[in-house]
């Protein structure tokens, strides 16, 4: 395969059969359409290119900005496409809730504008709605914004009607599947594919999946939110069901761990929702001698969602504990092993000790710079934790005085260092707060 441009690699994604031993359906063949294998990594590569292409190929280099309301895959694809054509890309969103995706967008050179939260006090005269401002800015005369408008742009649907749908039919030897399952975000993929499949076979059943209302699955909408999507037409779907983030993760794990498909949460939601829905249809087929076919879409890949997984299933990403850590200390250990010293005694030790103690301030560098005990060194706690994991960071003959804001964290570290064999570690009782309240001097950098 040789291409002149990466955009030629968009589309022609594989249709992969899921092993029946995994999904357990006896009479239905289940296929995954791997949109994650598009070059920018998602099902949005097609519509992004189809929507932007006429403008980008016409645009003079380096003029204007592509804008879209997107927190994820469309933004990613558009940012790459804009960059290739010398344009800028701006994403406006209130849904940038997955940090990796945000960081990836920044890496791609995107600008991100995050919409404010809702007003706490209702103001019926409020015209300050940021979305309104956004649309006003777009329609200002002379504005060089290109708004791809994925939620309303028919080219979003066309991209799938021209590509995704026909590819499925071709790979099923010219037949439409009996079932098509898709998560609903902009409704572009489900609408476009459903249209093509129905042209081949009006009896194809389309299952639309949305996120459970109080839940969050990146990239798909809740049942209320789909009503705000211009491309959404309830008639497209024979059934609309909701899935939870838990189900999305379950499905994602099955695809990742048992099928070798490195799917993200929406692919997982589509898989799990499909199997859940098809179970009854499958039983009904028992003994009929008929086989049916179902296709679902795997929208994108797992890598961008690690923090999403970490927030919901931390046990899946558990790190093995090594070395000396605070976690290995119980409250009783801390009480039994840590020694602390009050402000007055600490001042005396600093002034008269021979050698005087090394004062370690565990606060953040910014707080340390603002005010600290003269002569102290700053090792922020996160770093200190890493440091002691490997062993004692100072010699045993150097007395150490640990300080944190109120003397709680430093007490735990004092216990840990004592356990590690340091003979003279003390924690400043009451911390820097007590030091300040006692009127002891603090200096600025």
């Amino acid at each position: 395969m040789r291409y002149d441009s990466i955009t030629e690699a968009i589309g022609n994604t594989p249709l992969v059969r899921i092993d029946p031993a995994v999904h357990g359906l006896r009479n239905i063949d289940l296929y995954a359409k791997l949109e994650m294998l598009n070059p920018f990594g998602s099902v949005k590569d097609r519509p992004a290119w189809h929507m932007a292409r006429p403008h980008l190929e016409g645009a003079g280099a380096g003029e204007g900005t592509v804008v879209e309301l997107s927190s994820g895959n469309t933004a990613k694809a558009l940012a790459l496409l804009a960059g290739m054509h010398g344009l800028r890309f701006k994403s406006v969103t209130n849904r940038m809730r997955v940090p990796e995706i945000k960081e990836l967008l920044l890496l791609l050179g995107a600008e991100i504008e995050e919409l404010p939260g809702r007003s706490e006090c209702l103001d019926p005269t409020d015209t300050d709605d940021p979305l309104t401002h956004f649309h006003q800015a777009l329609s200002e005369p002379g504005s060089t914004y290109l708004h791809t408008d994925q939620y309303f742009n028919p080219r979003n649907v066309e991209a799938h009607a021209a590509g995704t749908g026909p590819e499925i039919v071709k790979d099923l030897d010219g037949r439409a599947p009996d079932w098509f399952v898709a998560c609903v975000g902009t409704a572009g993929s489900s609408t476009g594919v459903a249209r093509v499949l129905r042209e081949h076979d009006p009896d194809v059943r389309v299952l639309g999946l949305v996120a459970h209302k109080s839940d969050f699955i990146p990239g798909i909408r809740t049942i209320d939110e789909v009503h705000q999507v211009g491309l959404f037409d309830p008639a497209t779907y024979d059934t609309i069901e909701s899935v939870t983030s838990g189900e999305a993760l379950d499905g994602m794990l099955t695809l990742v761990r048992r099928c070798g498909i490195l799917s993200g949460p929406t692919g997982g939601a589509a898989y799990q929702g499909a199997v859940r829905h098809l179970r009854d249809a499958d039983s009904a087929l028992d003994g009929s001698g008929r086989r049916e076919t179902a296709v679902f879409i795997v929208c994108d890949r797992a890598e961008s969602y690690l923090s999403y997984v970490r927030a919901r299933r931390p046990e899946l990403l558990g790190r093995a504990v090594r070395g000396h850590t605070l976690a290995s200390l119980t409250e009783d250990d801390v009480r039994a092993e840590a020694l602390s010293v009050g402000v007055e005694a600490a001042r005396r030790r600093i002034a008269e000790g021979d050698p005087g103690p090394l004062v370690v301030d565990l606060r953040s560098p910014h707080a340390y710079a603002a005010l600290h005990i003269e002569g102290s060194v700053n090792i922020v706690d996160e770093l200190f934790e890493e440091l002691v994991r490997g062993g004692l960071p100072f010699g045993k003959r150097t007395p150490v005085l640990l300080a944190c804001p109120v003397g709680e964290k430093s007490l735990r570290y004092a216990a840990l260092l004592t356990r590690m064999g340091h003979p003279e570690v003390r924690s400043l009782a009451g911390g820097i707060v007590a030091w300040r309240d006692a009127g002891a001097p603090l200096v600025r950098e």
Binding site: I112, E114, G117, P130, H227, Q228, S364, A367, A369
Partner: protein, 498 residues
């Protein structure tokens, strides 16, 4: 009729048992008329304590200032005045509120004056040693002038800031957090000017901290503003000023609806009704800000988020725990490490579960529009409980006159209309479902109205009676009451020392 779309209120213990005492509530309304406001002063103290618990968890010092504008009651204020002066203060936004706070037992050093201020307000605040939360540069100049002219002691001031979004480069490369514009406070980009003025007026004012109050439920915006203040405090110190406190305002929120699913079902149904997919849920199909444009829902819903997973102290805890964008550490840690006090000014959240508004049912009749829809006219109007004004949607609790009625009629949809001769006088625009059809003489209790809803808009239109307010205190299985103005935390209602 399909399943009734209830939005049943969250009712916590003391308020719940008060609602259980229907004969007592009926006797109060019989004596004092409808509408009637009932307050539980004990609860506001418990709420303050819940906020304090969050402070303790984060090892923070500073004060909880009750934003007085949320309720004009004396009982609530006096009960808070009896709390530890180091921990609880009051935020006043007018000279009358300031006088009231002083009269309820707050000394000047526990009072924070916020909002736009006239010279009289500034003078009185400075005279009694209240902290002035400066809204503008002009206020600062005026205050300094008053202090000099009248030989007052140096006034403690906080500088209130706004416009955090416009700070260049803040929030990381490539990301800009939009923020609702505020007309209060000084834009951050002009902070230099204000700090210079503070220095110029050093003979008359002492800068004790920085402040903001953002009208948003967005944690990220507030987290950014807080972090920005931490950075600015550093600039203040570098100038030789010695501020100690960051006042992060209010807006911690209240969850009104008990059950998340009821809230979700109702709001989903609202979208469907706006699209015409189901019968209207509101008087004349009002969409609460949503509209149907060619089969797509447009607009944004103008409702208070009725069910909130995190409200009040829980919201504060979340805000303090969220990692900050520039310095990386959580705001609670930042405040602690920089040795700053945290001041908060909760209004609504401190008045959570502190009271209810009672209305007598005057008349019940069919709307004529559906076999099972009724108009219920109450001895109260929309000015007495400004639920609509604040977008608060929640069902009232039906308190039948003679205990629960038989008849077993089951759920019924009613429109609640007020006692004014005005088409617009609806207590709520929503079709409210009640477990049974009320009868004249029954009471409807609107729960959790102490924050803003109770008497924010009450007026003397059409000479209808204004609600009186009573304070109630639980005593074993029964309740004692007195008029709001007669409540003192040191005596039981009736004057018996505690």
């Amino acid at each position: 009729m399909d399943v009734p779309l209830y939005l049943r209120p969250r009712v916590d213990p003391p308020l719940a048992s008060l609602l259980g005492a229907a004969p007592f509530l009926h006797s109060l309304v019989d004596a004092l008329g409808s509408p009637l406001n009932v307050l539980l002063p004990e609860t506001i103290a418990e709420n303050a304590e819940r906020f304090r618990a969050v402070y303790r968890r984060h090892h923070l010092t500073g004060r909880v200032y009750f934003a007085h504008k949320a309720n004009r009651s004396s009982a609530l204020l006096r009960r808070l005045a009896a709390e530890d002066p180091a921990h609880v203060g009051v935020d006043v936004a007018s000279p009358a509120e300031l006088r009231h706070a002083l009269g309820c037992g707050f000394t000047g050093d526990r009072i924070m004056a916020t909002g736009p201020k006239d010279p009289e307000f500034l003078w009185l605040a400075a005279r009694v040693g209240a902290t002035v939360n400066l809204d503008s540069l002009r206020e600062l100049d005026q205050l300094a002038e008053l202090v000099r002219t009248y030989g007052l002691g140096r006034a403690d001031v906080l500088v209130r800031l706004s416009g955090f979004e416009s700070v260049d480069g803040h929030g990381g490369a490539g990301t800009r957090l939009l923020s609702r514009r505020s007309r209060f406070g000084t834009p951050v980009r002009e902070v230099e000017t204000v700090l210079s003025a503070v220095e110029r007026h050093a003979d008359a004012v002492t800068l004790t901290g920085l402040a903001y109050h953002l009208d948003t439920t967005g944690l990220a915006e507030k987290g950014r503003a807080l972090e920005r203040c931490v950075l600015l405090m550093d600039e203040c110190r570098a100038r030789g000023l010695a501020p100690r406190a960051i006042d992060i305002g209010g807006g911690f929120g209240v969850g009104y609806v008990a059950d998340a699913e009821e809230w979700e079902r109702w709001t989903t149904a609202l979208s469907e009704a706006v699209l015409g997919g189901r019968p209207p849920l509101t008087w004349r199909g009002h969409g609460y800000g949503l509209r149907n444009e060619g089969g797509t829902v447009r607009g944004s819903v103008a409702l208070y988020p009725g069910h909130r997973p995190h409200a009040g102290p829980g919201y504060l805890d979340e805000l303090l725990s969220l990692p900050a964008p520039v310095l990386g550490r959580a705001p609670g840690t930042l405040l602690l490490e920089h040795l700053h006090d945290l001041h908060i000014e909760p209004g609504r959240a401190l008045a959570d579960q502190c009271g209810l508004s009672l209305a007598r049912v005057l008349d019940v009749r069919p709307t004529g529009e559906g076999p099972d829809q009724y108009l219920v006219r109450l001895g109260m109007n929309a000015g007495d409980v400004s639920l609509e004004e604040h977008g608060v949607l929640v069902d009232p609790v039906l308190l039948p006159r003679g205990g629960p009625e038989d008849g077993g009629q089951g759920p019924v949809g009613v429109h609640l209309v007020g006692n004014l001769c005005l088409e617009a006088d609806l207590i709520t625009r929503r079709l409210v479902f009640l477990p049974a059809l009320p009868r004249a003489g029954d009471l409807l209790a609107f729960v959790n109205t102490a924050g803003y809803a109770m008497d924010f808009h009450a007026h003397r239109a059409q000479r209808q009676p204004l609600a009186r307010t009573v304070a109630v205190v639980g005593e074993g299985d029964s309740w004692r009451w007195c008029m709001d103005e007669d409540y003192w935390p040191i005596t039981h209602p009736g004057g018996k020392p505690v």
